[in-house]
């Protein structure tokens, strides 16, 4: 593997810039390699109390009573709270950027009211002088439960006689409630063409069923929060979150406060991947602070993270595809049932939007079901819903290629979506890079490299994510030394301070090092949606570009004033202001910046954007594996990730997203699962047993960045955070299939699953 006759990290650039596309050091880097960066759990202040949360040991039960009197009598305890301390929200709904949600669901998830719906469901909380005291006090709280039978999978929960989690849950059809009461909270259908005619015209039809397990985002930093309910009734929260404004708005809604009474300071954040969007402990810490009169910090344990926060849905999927003998796709049908966990919202909608997005198919029907089960309420996880769907679709596409004897990438190229292709959910695609990604895969030396040896196989798959736009704000101030300070509201999880700063620098002709970016609290910047949806470099980047253009225009006016000319007489190019009429008057950005204070008002640029021109991103993998036929262990020999970045603003961090997303996809494919017993108890709620990939499990992850410019961004950027997690499970299933000739239709494909498949093929019954 060390012999490399190729470039392990390639950027197929189509356009060059001065700053964009280069690899400056990240602005927050020194603090993060020296241990100085302050993450949420590092926050400390005078009088700080430590909170802890009591969680349900049962997956499904009615709460008969909660007696907190003994805990309150503990000498070191300062406050105890239960859900009765919240204002009853009734039927109120809130929009938290992830669609409409009943406030009661969020509130009941934060602290259970009448029922516990999963093991790990928060029931009560205490604040005490130390964490040890708080944990002691939790044991003094007496909760009486009436146990109810748990239901743990979507197919079980959809049965007519299944136990109901919510007695009044009415199924929604595209946003409208129906009369049907069940565990199905939402159904949608997309239709295109005539599905029956499409299958009738097909020469080959492949129909398969798939299951995927519940998996967790697995960020290394547990959730944490510190809240101070101040004497003036204002609430200040310091927390690790992807969305400080989401925390502000949800906490305010749950506590029945105006948003202006809540201020959220985002600390450095130790990973999120979608899992640090929901609110869990912030309102609880706030209530504990109100009752105790102290600031209160809560830091989750790892078991609490796994059992009490939102993983991504397990799912049951059926895919049927029909093709002509030349490979032309004629019809495709999907039936998707995703497990929402305790409360509605299983990300099946984006799953449905992505399931056939890569292909131009004339006749399509997609049915999606959002199903509540007695597991933690699910959250987004990197291209939420898409990985489950692509595992199924891409596996069927690979099977079709094999049956028709067509190269799997040629089959994809023949049917690839492109600009103008109508998606199954209606709209036509704008400029996308599906074809270019597949072509890059075909052209890569990995695809044609020999793969010798027994039990070895190569697999391919592609994936797609729409990406999000959503609001972002940015302010830029010019300093007299020729630098700028840039203020934004997007928590930096993977180097976005720098990718955003670089875009402002490009506009102003400055090196990236002359920008000083800061992520600030919700009182100090305009509304900015979550760091999620692959949107920060695109959307907050656009805000930075607009703010920088505002600065540039003000600087041009200032130069005009200094030179005594009209402003249209001044040009700005590569960091230099000069007169258009050819005289020698010129000033660098620094020279003009130095004169700002003596020639007029301070120069401050500002922008708020909600950009429409979001560019979706396609990705692909080539994976080589070796399967041990004795143990079922799958070893990855070589792995190449491809993705359309539109324009890679900072290629190192684009590669990082691709490598990290690929490895999360590899973990999802080969190891990770919520191993639940019949009572709904997670049996592997530690990082020893919830087995995420280690450095020893992996080879280098090679990358190819494809650049198909997004017309919706001045530099062509597309979000790159998510699409990379989508193809690995299908690519690895394909590789395992090619290695030992077994069809893998269930995730994870751990040694047990692989051995069962091998035994099944050999006709053994073990």
């Amino acid at each position: 593997m060390s012999e490399q006759s190729y470039e392990p990290n390639m950027v197929l650039s189509t356009k060059e810039f001065d700053v964009v596309g280069k690899r400056p050091l990240r602005h927050d880097g020194v603090d993060k390699v020296t241990g100085r960066a302050i993450y949420g759990a590092d926050v400390s202040m005078a009088g700080l109390m430590h909170g802890a949360v009591l969680r349900s040991p049962h997956a499904h039960a009615r709460i008969k009573s909660i007696d907190t009197s003994k805990a309150e009598a503990h000498p070191e305890v300062r406050a105890v709270v239960t859900s009765t301390d919240f204002v009853d929200p009734g039927d109120k709904t809130v929009d938290l950027g992830e669609g409409l949600t009943r406030l009661a669901y969020i509130r009941n998830n934060v602290l259970a009211r009448d029922k516990v719906l999963y093991r790990g469901h928060a029931v009560a909380a205490v604040a005490a002088a130390s964490l040890h005291d708080a944990l002691e006090a939790l044991e003094l709280i007496e909760v009486e439960y009436d146990l109810l039978p748990p239901v743990l999978t979507a197919p079980d929960a959809m049965k007519e006689d299944a136990p109901l989690l919510h007695e009044n849950l009415r199924m929604m059809e595209f946003g409208r409630p129906t009369d049907k009461v069940s565990n199905v909270s939402d159904h949608f259908r997309h239709e295109k063409g005539d599905i029956e005619q499409g299958f009738a015209e097909a020469d080959l039809i492949v129909e398969r069923e798939f299951d995927t397990s519940t998996v967790h985002q697995g960020y290394i930093e547990p959730h944490n929060t510190t809240a101070l309910w101040n004497n003036d009734d204002r609430i200040h929260i310091w927390t690790s979150t992807q969305g400080p404004f989401t925390i502000r708005d949800t906490t305010a809604a749950i506590l029945d406060k105006p948003v202006s009474q809540v201020r959220v300071t985002p600390t450095e954040i130790g990973g999120g991947f979608g899992g640090k969007i929901p609110v869990y402990i912030d309102p609880v810490a706030a209530l504990l602070s109100k009752k105790s009169g102290h600031p209160v910090k809560i830091v989750m344990s790892r078991a609490e993270v796994l059992e009490g926060t939102g993983p991504t849905p397990g799912s049951h999927l059926k895919i049927k595809m029909g093709v002509k003998s030349d490979g032309t796709m004629m019809a495709a049908q999907a039936w998707l049932a995703y497990e929402a966990g305790a409360y509605p919202g299983a990300m099946v909608v984006p799953g449905g939007m992505c399931v056939f997005a890569a292909y131009d198919i004339p006749n399509v029907t997609i049915d999606g079901y959002d199903v509540v089960v007695n597991k933690p309420s699910t959250a987004a996880y990197r291209a939420p819903g898409a990985t489950n769907a692509a595992f199924a679709t891409e596996s069927v596409v690979n099977e079709i290629a094999e049956k028709l004897g067509i190269d799997p990438l040629d089959l994809r190229l023949k049917n690839a979506s492109k600009e103008g292709t109508r998606r199954a959910d209606g709209p036509k695609f704008p400029r996308i890079g599906c074809v270019e990604v597949i072509e890059a895969m075909k052209n890569h030396p990995h695809y044609s490299a020999p793969l010798d040896g027994p039990n070895r196989g190569r697999g391919v798959a592609i994936g797609f994510w729409f990406n999000a736009g959503l609001p972002s704000a940015c302010n830029i101030a010019v300093n007299p030394d020729g630098t700028i300070t840039l203020v934004e509201g997007s928590p930096d999880i993977g180097g976005t301070r720098t990718s955003v700063a670089m875009q402002a620098a490009e506009v102003l002709g400055l090196p990236a090092e002359k920008v000083s970016p800061s992520v600030v609290d919700t009182d100090s910047v305009g509304f900015t949606a979550v760091t999620g949806g692959s949107r920060v470099t695109f959307s907050t980047g656009l805000a930075a570009i607009e703010a920088a253009r505002d600065v540039r225009d003000q600087m041009i006016r200032r130069a005009a004033r200094i030179w005594g000319v009209e402003e249209d007489g001044v040009d700005f190019e590569k960091g230099v202001f000069h007169l258009k009429n050819g005289t020698e008057n010129r000033m660098t950005f620094s020279e003009l910046a130095e004169q700002i204070a003596t020639t007029g008002d301070p120069i401050v640029g500002r922008a708020g954007v909600n950009p429409p021109g979001v560019g979706g991103s396609f990705s692909g993998n080539i994976a080589d594996v070796e399967v041990d036929p004795e143990t079922g262990k799958v070893t990855i020999l070589r792995f190449t990730a491809f993705q359309d970045a539109g324009k890679a603003i900072h290629p190192s961090y684009v590669e990082g997203q691709m490598q990290g997303g690929s490895v999360q996809g590899i973990g999802w494919a080969l190891n990770e699962e919520y191993f639940m017993n019949a009572e709904g108890k997670m049996m592997n709620s530690s990082l020893l047993d919830y087995r995420m990939p280690t450095s020893l499990d992996l080879p280098m992850i090679d990358t190819v960045i494809i650049e198909v410019a997004n017309p919706g961004h001045p530099f062509g950027a597309r979000g790159v955070g998510e699409a990379n997690i989508v193809p690995p499970p299908a690519a690895l299933a394909n590789a395992i299939n090619n290695a030992v000739d077994v069809a893998m239709n269930r995730l994870p494909m751990n040694p047990v699953a692989v051995m069962e498949a091998i035994w099944g093929k050999n006709g053994a019954t073990d």
């Binding site: 409409l100 595209f174 946003g175 949608f188 979608g274 959910d425 709209p427 036509k428 429409p612 979001v614």
Partner: protein, 87 residues
């Protein structure tokens, strides 16, 4: 005239029609025309005077951040799609 694509679930309101041409120069006006011809559409999509937060509007393939206020022209395609963001 702009054309509104009817989501599968809502075809019961349009007697099965999947695409309907309407007048109007904004999405709001287009929906008002559709409502006049096929009552119930508005109730389905709206909460008060606004689109439900779970529903987004795409014009010519691009999800509009301004939704009902989005300008449409003669050849615009209007779709109602699920509002999503991501992780």
């Amino acid at each position: 005239m702009p054309i509104i694509f009817i989501p599968a679930a809502m075809k019961e309101l349009t007697a099965g029609a999947a695409e309907i041409r309407v007048g109007g120069s904004t999405v709001r006006e287009a929906v008002a025309e559709l409502e006049a011809a096929h009552p119930g559409i508005r109730d389905w999509l709206f909460e008060g005077n606004r689109l439900k937060p779970s529903i987004a509007v795409a014009v010519d393939g691009v999800v509009s951040p301004i939704g009902l206020l989005q300008h449409v022209d003669e050849n615009s395609e209007i779709h109602f799609v699920a509002a999503i963001s991501g992780g």
